[in-house]
């Protein structure tokens, strides 16, 4: 009986109604980030595709490939991903371009990660894009929603948000799924640490110190910039490193526990964002999607700033 009531409560949480603009605002943020992220790396992706074929170790959806694709095919795939990304950002023919974009992004990033090293900073971006691509995330703030408005009204700022649709569960569950996937990913990272060779000792400070030191040494010997100055400053402060290690382990392992509560999950999102900025400061490791805050944006009411911006636009227009 208790399980049933817990499931019903989760169901109510999962299908809570939210405005279409909340989901759409996240689509715009993610699409903007992805366009910037991919656009800046086109040359690098092409260079990686020219690496020695013997270093090709396909992962994810690229696994069926026996050998690397010809470079022109890679270039064409990247171009198609960027084009679909633009359509997805604009919310143009979303029923087709949403799944197309998320599928192409999954393919492009799987292929990019198929050369001996998996960059774990790309995983969340792909998961979130998949959910957005297959959900009605272009029912507002999109060209699709604008087309549904009579021609004479299309110049108004109101036309951008397409008729202020009332809160609906159809816009709520994709955001809940995105947040659940985020929480699950952090939980996995936490479990890998405590199930690894160090066990709970991972949180004793010394192991984090060594992780930071090994990473810093590699950067000193092979990188352009070297280790972060904070890596040197914190090296002898095991007590502080213990706090940081325990804190990051708590952020990772407690992610699913926080998830059902709106308030706690917001606090968690702020904690996770802080953790990534800490990692950047100490290790110079850039989880760009997370550092931008966009990965954690679905925990917040994104429709509010959108409404504020629209009000401001109306005010300026007057």
């Amino acid at each position: 009986m208790r399980l049933r009531s817990a499931l019903l409560s989760l169901d109510r949480h999962w299908f809570g109604g939210v405005p279409a603009t909340r989901l759409a605002a996240f689509r715009v943020l993610l699409a903007g980030f992805s366009l910037f992220y991919l656009g800046k790396r086109v040359r690098m992706f092409v260079k990686v595709a020219r690496t020695d074929p013997k270093l090709f170790k396909p992962v994810g959806v690229a696994t069926p490939l026996r050998k690397p694709l010809p470079v022109p095919v890679v270039k064409a795939t990247i171009a198609a991903t960027l084009a679909a990304n633009v359509a997805f950002a604009a919310g143009y023919k979303h029923r087709a371009t949403g799944p197309l974009y998320s599928g192409l992004l999954l393919w492009t990033l799987s292929y990019r990660n198929s050369w001996s090293m998996i960059y774990h900073s790309d995983n969340l971006l792909v998961f979130h894009a998949l959910v957005l691509g297959f959900s009605p995330s272009a029912d507002a703030l999109s060209l699709d929603s604008r087309r549904r408005i009579p021609a004479g009204l299309r110049t108004s700022t109101r036309s951008l948000i397409a008729g202020d649709r009332p809160p609906d569960w159809r816009y709520g569950w994709p955001l809940q799924l995105i947040n659940a996937v985020t929480a699950a990913s952090y939980f996995l990272a936490g479990v890998a640490k405590v199930k690894g060779p160090l066990g709970w000792k991972w949180a004793d400070g010394d192991s984090l110190r060594k992780q930071v030191a090994v990473d810093g040494l590699r950067k000193e010997l092979l990188g352009n910039e070297g280790a972060a100055p904070l890596a040197y400053r914190l090296y002898d402060r095991v007590g502080l490193l213990r706090v940081l290690a325990a804190g990051s382990l708590a952020v990772e392992l407690l992610a699913p526990v926080m998830f059902p509560s709106r308030r706690l999950s917001k606090l968690w999102a702020i904690g996770a964002l802080g953790m990534h900025w800490g990692i950047l400061g100490i290790m110079r490791i850039k989880f760009r999607y997370q550092l931008s805050g966009i990965a954690f944006a679905p925990y917040f009411d994104l429709d509010r700033p959108v409404a504020g911006l629209i009000q401001l636009a109306r005010h300026i227009k007057r």
Partner: protein
Amino acid sequence: MRPVAGKGVPGRARRASRGKRRGATLDPGRASARLLSFVMVTCVLAPLRHNWGKRPVDGFPLSYYPMFSAKREATAKVTYLVGLDGRGDRIKIPYSCAGSGGLNQVRRQIRRAVRRGHSEELCARVAREVRRRKGFKEVVTLQVVTGTYHLDDYFSGRNRQPLKEKLHASVPVEPGRARPGTGAAPTLPSGSAP
């Protein structure tokens, strides 16, 4: 007869609300959303099993996120590139001279090339790239080495020199052997992977 307070009408209301809830639960749209959500969260959590496996395999985007979970010792080994000038002084050679895709990707590729016995080939290729690049004019010799460093000594500043260093390959950076005008990315030698 007057309905008993708290029973008759509220009971009906409760039944109606339960019926409405059941209707929402059975809504086909919600049912597919529920199924999709369940499948996706299960897929994301599926790599958890690798933590109990003998030979865990990481994937993308379904990963068990093994980063930073390895046990580190007091010393660390790194395989890297070293340039030497005419006086024998060392010049740092960044990973980008050996390949594209980020420091850790190239570092792994270098290590793999050395393990597979392709150090000479790697060294020659990087030497050509170094010769082509601006800012490395003084480099006359290029080496591929594996250094063992004591982390405490290195980060406390007591001793930044390696405890030991193994030389895998050393080649002269000859001006005549440079490939002029090739804008192509330097790639690691063929046969450097399993």
